[in-house]
């Protein structure tokens, strides 16, 4: 893992003390709320419906057990004993007191964490494939470049007042597990024809009010040019992005209005002045960062894992869990264990302090001290020996963390929605909870197979509804919660935006509607065909007819 150097330590500590002073001045009345608000947002502190909310950055979704224990400590000491893992691989604490926040940030700094740039019109926390470094299909670890981008973008003076927030995601494989096509910039590590490693650059994707799949503006960018090209892209956006209309300020609107080709040409022109300059990444600097992420040598293990196989043969619950929650690892004899934060009836992405501690303990003992947070609001233990998997499963199960549902209908993404969020129009969490209760039968879930339901409580789309196989968007109709349902969205390498299936349905009717859509799929599917596969084959009409017949 990356470790702070002296510069990082100094920067974060100084920021903590600066914010401590700002909070003190606010509480003494020397700063008004209008003056204080931009300062607190720069440090990830929001004021939500019921309380302040602190959003803590988890760079590229990687945590050590020590860091996870600190998150548990913060939740236990300063909050209500739980935290919420978000779709941007961050952690949100929903109930901190203003006077405590400087101490919380000081505690975080002791484990090399902070909340800088988790809000505001800046380059936000850079996200990456949660299987970075361990996925068998990876070309290179995307976290190396996510970290380089983090260092470049943190407190970048030119980009501290962008037209709007800016989100970058990096994936190291052709299979996209980081939703790069719906980010402001998505980077996909690839090889060119000569075998050199670089990036495909996708710009101008996004969700929200105007969802767009980002076009690729450069098929191949050499590694050394990463920062100069990003700087050129951000500079074009910073100059031309709209500042007159909040809803048209994201880079996707600029790219769309200019056209991808023209935007790309403008970036190339800007880049001409920047490339081969001070921003060029020297190979030894890449190697320096790479060394932080290079795994210590793995044990040479057999591919066979007798203990795991014995339990799998004799315990149907374990076998079912392995089927969904155990992924293949690039190293023989190791596996990736997915820790579901989607228990039946639970709030997606929530974990209690005790659960965070348990995951930290398991990581320390069994997973080379590492934990991952996925944008789908689950955790993973990336480096577990296959013969340790039974022990890990037992410990997770005892903590309510072994729901065998990764990628199934109950593995739902949901934003905090109107239960917590100041921007929301409708609730999202209880919609997810009711769905997980309706589909509680695990055999039925496994029979339905791969399906992604994503729920947002407003058009800002933190719950990624546009790219859900079934997307659910909460809207306010005359003070009542209604939900628009879309079908066929996808956030992977074949990214697509969902199609609206008909008029919005009332809060009480959402679960029935989803069940009708799922039953329609079950009745229409061919052997081995997923929900998305069937939808792409048969189209919207059968689903629309089934739903309208019932409503």
């Amino acid at each position: 893992m990356y470790r702070y150097d002296e510069f990082d330590h100094a920067l974060v500590s100084q920021r903590v003390e600066q914010f401590r002073g700002q909070v003190a001045r606010r509480l003494r009345g020397e700063l008004t709320e209008d003056e204080f608000k931009p300062l607190r947002l720069m440090n990830g502190l929001y004021l939500q419906l019921h309380a302040y909310m602190l959003r803590i950055a988890i760079p590229y979704g990687t945590l050590s057990s020590r860091q996870m224990r600190m998150l548990a400590h913060l939740a236990r000491t300063y909050d209500r004993d739980y935290g919420h893992f978000t779709t941007r691989q961050n952690l949100q604490l929903n109930w901190p007191k203003l006077a405590d926040v400087p101490d919380m940030l000081a505690d975080l700094a002791t484990v090399e964490m902070h909340a800088i740039q988790t809000s505001g019109n800046v380059i936000r926390n850079v996200t990456a494939d949660h299987l970075a470094g361990v996925a068998a299909d990876e070309i290179e670890d995307p976290r190396i470049y996510a970290e380089i981008i983090r260092q470049w973008s943190t407190l970048h003076p030119e980009f501290s007042f962008l037209p709007r927030k800016f989100k970058i995601a990096v994936t190291g494989a052709a299979r996209d597990r980081a939703a790069i096509k719906v980010h402001d910039i998505g980077l996909q590590i690839k090889r060119d024809e000569a075998g050199e490693v670089g990036f495909a650059v996708v710009v101008g994707g996004g969700q929200g009010r105007t969802p767009m799949i980002g076009p690729t503006i450069r098929e191949f960018l050499p590694k050394k040019d990463l920062l100069s090209y990003l700087e050129a892209t951000l500079r074009v956006y910073n100059l031309l992005g709209r500042r007159d209309n909040l809803y048209k300020a994201r880079i996707k609107i600029l790219v769309h209005s200019l056209g991808a080709a023209k935007f790309a040409a403008m970036v190339e022109e800007e880049w001409r002045h920047l490339r081969d300059g001070p921003l060029e990444l020297p190979a030894d600097e890449i190697a320096r960062i790479e060394a932080y992420f290079a795994p210590s040598p793995y044990a040479r293990l057999d591919e066979s894992a007798p203990e795991l196989e014995a339990l799998r043969a004799g315990n149907a619950d374990f076998a079912m869990w392995c089927e969904r929650n155990l992924d293949s690892h690039k190293q023989p004899g190791y596996g990736i264990v997915h820790v579901s934060l989607k228990p039946e009836g639970g709030a997606p992405g929530d974990a209690t302090s005790a659960q965070m501690d348990i995951v930290a303990d398991l990581a320390e003992r069994y997973s080379r001290d590492e934990i991952r947070v996925s944008h789908e609001q689950n955790l993973s233990l990336p480096d577990v020996r296959l013969d340790d998997v039974p022990a890990v499963w037992r410990a997770l199960a005892a903590a309510g963390l072994a729901t065998p549902n990764i990628g199934l209908i109950s593995d739902i993404i949901a934003c905090p929605g109107l239960d917590f969020c100041n921007l929301a129009n409708a609730r999202a969490i209880p919609v997810a909870q009711e769905l997980t209760e309706r589909f509680s039968d695990l055999r039925r879930q496994h029979d339905i197979g791969d399906i992604k339901i994503k729920i947002s409580g407003c058009i800002n789309a933190c719950g990624h509804h546009h790219v859900g196989h079934i997307g659910i968007l909460g809207v306010d109709k005359k003070g009542k919660e209604f939900y628009q349902i879309t079908l066929g969205g996808s956030a992977d390498e074949n990214a697509a935006l969902g199609d609206l299936v008909g008029p919005a349905v009332a809060y009480d009717d959402v679960t029935d509607a989803v069940e009708i859509l799922v039953e329609t799929y079950m009745a229409s599917r061919k052997d081995g065909e997923t929900f998305l596969g069937t939808y792409r084959r048969v189209g919207l009409t059968p689903f629309k007819e089934a739903l309208h017949g019932a409503h």
């Binding site: 019921h50 739980y82 935290g83 079912m320 009836g345 929301a424 129009n425 695990l442 003070g479």
Partner: protein, 108 residues
Amino acid sequence: MTPQKLKIVTANRLGDGAVVYLDADGDWSARLGNGWVALDQDDETALLARAAQAEADLLIVGAYSMEVARLGDGLAPTSQRERIRSAGPTVAAGEVPAALPATPRRSA
């Protein structure tokens, strides 16, 4: 003639962000039911002026007026947003559901 909408003034407490309402005694209370009701525009303006002073006195932040309806002897919010602000989240956030089995459940 459209009946005058009843309004009260709400805000978040500065120290912890908790939802509070300006009550009939001029205090900031967590209980909506005792809210000081503005019957007309002048009342509302006067209540918002009190709220501005409370902001200056470092008690509250982000004050605004909101619609309520009479409910028995008390008041109730008319929008879902304000119902949730008043009563708290509708979900037992962070709790591991009591129904959660110790090991994954499998149907018969």
